[in-house]
């Protein structure tokens, strides 16, 4: 067996110190919990409640950690395992909830429409680097207040992969849950073979809004995996030191796990986040900062030590167009995430601090993800002796290309990138019109959208979830949905 290449961020002592201090923070500083039900759960378990603030004794936190599962499985539309979260296994999915889409023709970001969301879902379905889809772009042609459920609806129609999503309003959970159940084959089936992850964000520092806390509780009860997206922003909403941010992140996640496990012990939960090394010049939240990636990798190590699956917003960029910066930041993030063993990595396709998605970048990033997946497969010895007889044969033939050994292994040893990666000669590049990676990605987007066929959703199920969606949109004042 090969060794998975891994980075280590802390000594055991330092990591334990961070975890202990996080627990101490929950006991001494407490968490602000707006949600009444969550306060009641904490109260019932023995936390001290003072107004909206809950002081959580370490014993309760530790009990929650005991019941939280160490492995979380996600299933595709056929009920096959698509993600196996836990250990050092890594999976990619495109970043979620972009406000805009990058328009290839105008070279600028714009508001997406339903057709963009469908193209995005189909493309994600086609690309092998993505284990899951995400409700990645918010269409502007439906009422803003149904944006959260509508994007899940489109995702379920146009891709078979599980969905990484989240609610924007408390009321949205019910209809999203109904649609996901319908696709999974009922509520019980959904519980047994969940097809979606819900992001739930605590507000830094150490506070749970009513909405996100309700989502956490709803997920726990429905058995749908909840993903804690804690986001300390260094020097803005958390200590400016990286270790301080990791500690606050740990305390926020522990509070989330505790509330979640109190709502339903044993329900799946993921230790995650989207922190940033706050940019002190521009006042922005750069996902492409190396320090952001360091915080991510470091907290993943803490999450592993706590025995829960991990997640991070990595492999994305703050650049506006799909350019050098976009590729650089995305690839750095992907590799740091992979080598930190982050189980669920959200981000590919994204630009502009999680604000913009690009189909072309989604295609390019797929190559980064595939390469990162190759990297984490490590180096295997394949033969014993490792090389001596093959080298002997090579010496004899004066080359290796014609050796059966080469034919036997070359496909497994090397990842074969798609056409967007240029590995041809200068002459070929010239002959092909001197295209850039972005040009080639555009060609690939067009080709895949033309040729890739997404298996149709069962007609009955489709009718059912369309009915649910129409009901929602009527409530929001729109009688007819855009053509899907």
């Amino acid at each position: 067996m090969s060794v998975i290449p891994r980075v280590t961020w802390f000594s055991d002592d330092d990591r334990n110190k961070i975890i202990d201090e996080a627990k101490q923070i929950l006991e001494e500083l407490g968490v602000f919990v707006e949600n009444e039900e969550a306060r009641e759960l904490l109260d019932g378990a023995g936390a001290k409640i003072d107004g909206n603030r809950a002081y959580i004794p370490t014993a309760i936190v530790e009990k929650a950690l005991e019941t939280a599962p160490g492995r979380v499985l996600l299933y595709d539309r056929h009920g096959e395992i698509a993600m196996d979260l836990g250990g050092d296994r890594i999976h990619f999915n495109p970043g979620s909830a972009a406000l805009r889409i990058f328009d290839r023709d105008s070279g600028d970001a714009r508001t997406p429409v339903t057709a963009d969301v469908i193209r995005y879902a189909r493309l994600t379905d086609a690309l092998p680097g993505y284990a899951a889809q995400s409700t990645g772009v918010i269409p502007g042609d439906v009422p803003e207040n149904i944006a959260d459920s509508y994007r899940v609806f489109l995702g379920l129609l146009h891709s078979t992969k599980p969905v990484v999503t989240g609610t924007f309003r408390v009321e949205a959970f019910a209809v999203m849950h109904s649609m996901l159940s319908a696709v999974a084959g009922g509520e019980k089936a959904l519980r047994e073979r969940p097809n979606a992850i819900f992001d739930c964000c605590p507000s830094p520092p150490l506070s749970w809004s009513d909405l996100t806390c309700q989502a956490l509780i709803d997920c726990a009860r429905a058995g749908l995996p909840a993903e804690l997206v804690s986001m300390p922003l260094t020097g803005a909403t958390s200590p400016v030191t990286l270790a301080g941010a990791v500690t606050q992140h740990c305390a926020e996640n522990l509070s989330g796990i505790t509330i979640h496990q109190l709502a339903h012990a044993g329900s799946p939960i993921i230790y995650g986040g989207s922190p940033a090394c706050f940019d002190m010049k521009k006042g922005t939240t750069p996902m492409g900062a190396i320090e952001t990636m360091m915080i991510d990798g470091a907290y993943a190590e803490v999450g592993k030590a706590l025995g829960v699956p991990t997640h991070a917003y990595m492999a994305l960029s703050d650049s506006k167009p799909v350019d050098y910066q976009a590729g650089m930041e995305t690839a750095m993030g992907a590799i740091v995430a992979a080598m930190s063993g982050v189980n669920n990595i959200s981000g590919p396709g994204m630009l502009d601090f999680e604000s913009c998605q690009s189909l072309e970048k989604l295609v390019l990033d797929n190559e980064i993800c595939c390469m990162a997946l190759r990297l984490t497969a490590g180096i295997e010895l394949r033969d014993d002796p490792v090389a001596l007889p093959v080298i002997a044969a090579g010496i004899e033939k004066k080359e290796f290309l014609s050796l059966p050994h080469t034919k036997k292994w070359f496909r497994q040893e090397a990842y074969m990138p798609g056409d967007v990666i240029e590995r041809g000669s200068l002459e070929q590049w010239r002959a092909n019109g001197k295209k850039t990676a972005f040009d080639r990605a555009g060609d690939q987007v067009d080709r895949l959208l033309e040729t890739h066929e997404v298996e149709l959703l069962d007609a009955e199920v489709k009718k059912h979830i369309t009915g649910l969606m129409i009901e929602e949109s009527k409530k929001a004042g729109m009688d007819k949905l855009p053509s899907t």
């Binding site: 406000l99 009422p143 207040n145 944006a147 924007f168 706050f278 010049k281 006042g283």
Partner: protein, 215 residues
Amino acid sequence: MREHLKSCAQAVLDGESEIAEELARLTLEKKMDLLEVIENGFVAGIREVGKLWEEGILFLPELVMGAEAMKAAMELLQPALETEGSDREKVGHVVIGTIEGDIHDIGKTLVATMLSANGFKITDLGADVPAVRFVDEAEKNDADCIAISALLTTTMPGQKKVIEELDKRSMRSRVKVMVGGAPCDEKWAAEIGADGYAGDAVAAVSLARSLTGRG
């Protein structure tokens, strides 16, 4: 006096709240010309801070600390100014908040801090604020401007609701409306009939100045 003005500006530039407070106290004790000290001392300092930030020389913590020092001084000088009945051109009053359903408040708070540092009177309603409350507070405080932050696609329409509420109460002509936050842009501002959009806190100050003619 010139030395004193320079010290006041410097205290703000250095983000030294305690020194700024001390200088404000001295101003009162020595019965110096309040308007002169504010305009050519503290305000000059905060303008410089904003300029240096835009030029990329100062960083956010320095910008915010400068604003805090400014606030600390003004808290002492403002009441004196009012009892003196001095007519420093009436300051603009801005009612600011993040719209209902939205808890993103980092950007909003930065904008509020910078506006306040630049002489605006601020009523900060916090986050998750219903449209009606913006208008209630604007009415109560006779405000010149409402500033609404929205970071979510689902909450943006709330900004429009504020404008509709202003219309309903026939207050629209008296109260300017500015909007901001990640999903907003010039186009959105125009679409909902807001008076302006700004992309960051320093731009928000210029916008507020040009909209209200004050600050």
